[in-house]
């Protein structure tokens, strides 16, 4: 499954880079992302609850980073598994300064979706994943433009270092049904890959 697209983020490329590097932002803006955790120098684990109203389903995702060239591009390899299916994907992300203080983010994901959803979801997967991406980037843009506050760690939660937990309200209910449960994880894991990459980039600086 190939999913590609772009988004205009209303901030300069360095600011976008920094925002994308802030796990507190990521854990809040990745649809359904509950938890982001460093598991090694190049590897991260995240927990995504496919935030579809009325549909349970938690997915463990793992992310590996390569071909980083801050602040302009990453190649991320990510994988995730949940009851309705599995996902493994490569996502290339480019950040480009478009001059007027805005940044164009382009992503190019090639995902392999397995399990039940692969056999019955083909009609729907790409569209849902695109929709996911849009959801995510508009959240990021809200943060960048100050329309939404950067999430504090959820009250009462004291995670260990390197672990970031979304406030309970963060995972916005994501309408729809069905294939979304499987497709969400595909897109979410893919995007998670991109973002955790940014995180790593910052810690090296």
């Amino acid at each position: 499954m190939k999913v590609s697209g772009d988004a205009m983020l209303h901030a300069p490329v360095e600011k976008v880079w920094t925002a994308l590097n802030d796990p507190a932002v990521l854990v809040r803006t990745i649809p359904g992302c509950e938890r982001l955790e460093a598991t090694g120098p190049d590897s991260y684990r995240m927990v995504v609850t496919a935030g579809v109203a009325s549909i349970r389903g938690t997915y463990a995702g793992e992310v590996l980073l390569s071909e980083r060239s801050a602040p302009h591009s990453f190649l991320m390899t990510a994988s995730g598994a949940g009851a309705p299916g599995t996902v493994s994907t490569e996502v290339r992300v480019l950040l480009a300064d478009v001059g007027d203080g805005s940044t164009r983010l382009t992503y190019d994901a090639d995902a392999v979706v397995g399990g039940v959803v692969a056999g019955v979801g083909q009609r729907m997967l790409v569209g849902v994943a695109r929709r996911m991406a849009g959801e995510f980037f508009s959240s990021v843009d809200d943060v960048l433009t100050g329309a939404a506050p950067v999430a504090a760690v959820a009250p009462g939660v004291t995670p260990e270092p390197g672990v970031f937990v979304a406030p309970p309200t963060a995972a916005r209910p994501f309408g729809g049904d069905a294939f979304v449960r499987g497709a969400l994880v595909g897109a979410a894991i893919a995007l998670a890959g991109v973002l955790v990459g940014g995180l790593l980039g910052r810690r090296r600086r």
Binding site: V112, A118, G119, R123
Partner: protein, 805 residues
């Protein structure tokens, strides 16, 4: 008494099935535990870990098994059923994956629970950790062998087989014309409406295993289960209940579940049932058809084929338990009714990380016929000759029968056609469809902006392959006749046609004959129902058995009536002296008399007392005799018998939407003598529908990662009534087979075989460009049109002419 053979009698099976009183696999064993399986979501991966902890607290869970739990021979790879010298790298799966999975859907963990809902709850909670490996998907990737399916199989090649007659290279070199074609067919599958299923009951007191399975070979399953579970054959009963269609996929055996369910039943001491769901059938049973072919054909100015060289590649999926049957059939049966001159065929059978391939109705013939018939069309187009004429010129003539192709057939025996009259069939077909007048139809349609085309395809089908089948006929003291044969039935009406045969042979009313198939308790020696063999093999065996029973009945009756057996006839179940109807005795009474111990406890026994039977100078049962009026017969022919047929189809393609509609579908069919025309025509109707499905709708769509993307009836487009021809126009030719006592040939697969070839021929005729790959969808046709329009523009606007014109 009217002869039943040849009569379109209604089926004895129907009343029960129409009332909803059929007994299919899942209609049995309401008390049984249910199985569900954790199946691989990856096409190729190492299995690193199986964590079942999450499943353990599922209410109703009974057991969870992985490969490590499998004992003895159950832990070995499943059998390679049909070895072949050319099959140098045969690989088969394990009942449960051992460390690695090679296709999506391969079973990894077995769950047994109180019902299927709970079994699926538990399966969903089992976490299997995989390390994905590169997947080999499709013939090009398999040939490139950049990655291997099985690390110890170089080039992904399981087998390479060459057969040749004459010197094809010099024949091609000497031919006036040479054409090369690349032709391919995609995957489809049997997809019976009922999936696979098995129910097993272990009786520890009698130490017997009884199982029911939705199979095309109960004797094969029985032998496999006995061997794998270490049981004596006599301690295993395998019963085939009503089967909701097979079409080939259920001849494959033993399926992992056919071993695991009885094994679990023995371990747990409770009946265990597995009922395959639709998704499992798509990803865990078997597919067929995918082949790519390169053809070189040399011919003269009249279109006579002088040399034919076919190289093809067969995608047999991740495993090859059924051997090389499918590609061998393609390589031999593609010759159809033609004399190819010198012929050379070579194929590679290739591993891919997709579901394994086993025969699906037609079994390699649709591919072979597609190759040969597309080649005939190409020759006609090249020479500007009529497509039917070119075929006619290459036919084997009736006076050349029996015709020896000099090749080896799927049964390892010489490929010798026993009989057939191909020119007569073609004449019938041309008349039926109006072949010679069609040009006007096509032109008239084009005049008002419509695109119609006609196509035809011919095939010869080896049917009734050996090695043997048997039959048993016993006359009970009630006069009722009980018949058993070992092979199974999946809707072909065997209970009816076999009863027709016995009624005639024995001289009893059909209503008094009851036939049982596929029950090893009733008949233990059998091969199975495939390759259009049931009527030929079991029909003949049952006829022989009935004749033996008749002889015995006449012998006993002759003694009782003190007449010569030669003066007796059996009419409506009464043995009587020809010409003097007074002297008569019912078959039931004869049955009593045939047994010195006359415990019949019925009127027949009373009636018997008036007759004195037996020579006091001999023991009650003579050395050369046995009690009862019974007959056993086995039929084991030297070779297959070759049915044939020809299809013509008229299609219309929408100039705007590229939708393809079948306007007419005509069939001329020769399966020797017809036992029951109604049933034969039903087989043709169903076969044609599957042929249409395979040509225009059905394909298994894998992505490059080996994920089957249409694993449901939503996206695997099995035709509804709205997609099949409204009327299949049928004409029969009957050239009896000299190879069996009834003069019959098989008819089960025929209808599906030439579908893709005939429809491709018709689409090409309508569109004016070559159709080289099937199936074809409107989207495919649209893209082909654009490619040919671009090519036409490139050729300075000169419009590409139909290769069929």
């Amino acid at each position: 008494m009217t002869r039943m053979f040849g009569e379109p009698v209604t089926r004895v099976e129907d009343d029960r099935l129409l009332r909803g009183h059929g007994a299919y696999l899942d209609d049995l064993g309401h008390d049984a535990l249910a199985c569900a399986f954790v199946r691989s979501p990856h096409a190729h991966a190492d299995v690193l870990d199986v964590d079942v902890t999450g499943a353990l607290d599922v209410d109703g869970l009974v057991a969870i098994y992985t490969y490590e739990d499998l004992p003895g021979r159950l832990a070995e790879p499943l059998p390679l059923l049909i070895p072949h010298p050319a099959l140098t790298h045969g690989r088969t799966q394990y009942a449960l994956a051992r460390g690695v999975v090679n296709h999506v859907g391969e079973p990894v963990v077995m769950v047994v629970a109180r019902d299927r809902y709970l079994a699926e709850d538990a399966a969903e909670r089992i976490i299997v950790t995989y390390r994905p490996l590169p997947a080999v998907v499709g013939i090009p990737a398999a040939r490139a062998a950049e990655h291997l399916v099985h690390p110890d199989v170089p080039g992904n090649v399981a087998a390479n087989l060459v057969q040749a007659v004459g010197d094809v290279e010099s024949a091609l070199a000497g031919a006036a014309h040479l054409l090369e074609l690349d032709l391919s067919i995609e995957r489809s599958a049997s997809t019976p409406m009922e999936g696979r299923g098995v129910l097993a009951r272990w009786d520890p007191e009698s130490h017997r295993l009884r199982m029911w399975t939705s199979t095309q070979t109960s004797t094969g399953v029985r032998a496999a289960v006995a061997a794998k579970l270490g049981l004596a054959l006599v301690d295993v009963d395998v019963i085939t209940p009503d089967v909701g269609g097979g079409f080939g996929v259920k001849i494959m055996h033993p399926w992992p579940e056919e071993l695991l369910a009885p094994w679990a039943a023995m371990l747990l001491g409770r009946p265990v049932k597995f009922v395959e769901d639709r998704r499992e059938h798509f990803i865990s049973s078997a597919h067929e058809r995918a082949q790519q072919h390169h053809v070189r054909v040399g011919f003269d100015n009249d279109g006579h084929v002088l040399g034919l060289d076919v190289r093809f590649w067969h995608d047999h999926g991740a495993y090859i338990p059924y051997g090389l049957i499918v590609p061998i059939i393609t390589s031999t049966q593609l010759l159809g009714p033609y004399k190819p001159g010198a012929y050379r065929v070579e194929f590679d059978s290739l591993y891919t990380n997709t579901l394994m391939v086993t025969p699906y109705r037609g079994a390699g013939r649709p591919q072979g016929v597609f190759v040969m018939e597309r080649t005939m069309d190409a020759i006609a187009a090249f020479l500007g000759l009529d497509r039917a004429l070119v075929r006619e010129r290459n036919f084997i003539r009736p006076d050349e029968m029996p015709y020896d192709h000099g090749l080896m057939f799927q049964d390892g025996r010489p490929l010798i056609y026993d009989s057939g009259d191909y020119p007569a069939s073609l004449e019938k077909l041309k008349k039926l469809v109006g072949w010679d007048e069609f040009e006007h139809v096509r032109d008239a349609a084009r005049a008002d902006g419509r695109r119609v085309g006609i196509g035809l395809a011919c095939y010869v089908e080896g049917t009734g392959v050996g090695p043997y089948e048997g039959g048993h006929v016993v006359v009970e003291t009630t006069g009722k006749v009980k018949v058993a044969t070992g092979l199974t039935t999946q809707g072909q009406g065997h209970q009816t046609v076999f009863a027709q045969i016995v009624a005639d042979e024995l001289g009893v009313p059909m209503a008094d004959v009851e036939v049982v198939t596929g029950d090893t308790r009733r008949f233990g020696y059998a091969v199975g129902t495939f390759a259009s063999r049931a009527a030929v093999m079991s029909g003949s065996a049952i006829a022989l058995a009935a004749r033996a029973a008749r002889a015995k009945a006449l012998k006993v009756a002759a003694e009782a009536l003190e007449v010569d057996a030669g003066d007796l006839e059996i009419v409506d179940g009464i043995v009587r002296v020809v010409g003097s109807p007074g002297a008569a005795i019912s078959l039931g009474t004869v049955a009593v008399l045939s047994n010195p111990l006359r415990y019949a406890f019925d009127d027949a026994a009373k009636a018997a007392t008036q007759f004195a039977v037996g020579d006091v100078s001999k023991p009650p049962v003579a050395e050369d005799d046995e009690p009862g009026v019974e007959g056993r017969g086995f039929f084991s022919p030297m070779q297959s018998t070759f049915a044939s047929g020809m299809h013509a189809v008229v299609v219309e393609t929408d100039p705007d939407t590229a939708e393809i509609k079948i306007l007419r579908y005509c069939v001329v069919h020769d399966c020797g003598r017809l036992i029951n025309p109604r049933i034969v025509e039903g087989q043709i109707h169903g076969g044609v529908a599957q042929g249409v499905g395979g040509a225009l709708y059905e394909r298994m769509v894998y992505d490059e990662a080996g994920q089957l993307q249409n694993a449901s009836f939503m996206d695997f487009l099995m035709p509804y009534v709205s997609e099949v021809p409204e009327r299949v126009e049928i004409d029969h030719l009957e050239t009896p087979s000299p190879l069996n006592p009834l003069g019959i040939k098989g008819a089960g697969e025929a209808g599906v075989i030439p579908g893709a070839a005939a429809i491709a021929s018709a689409i090409q005729d309508a569109e004016g460009f070559a159709i080289t790959a099937m199936p074809i969808s409107p989207s495919d046709l649209f893209e082909l049109r654009r490619r040919h329009e671009r090519a036409a523009r490139a050729n300075g606007g000169s419009h590409e002419r139909s290769t069929a014109e």
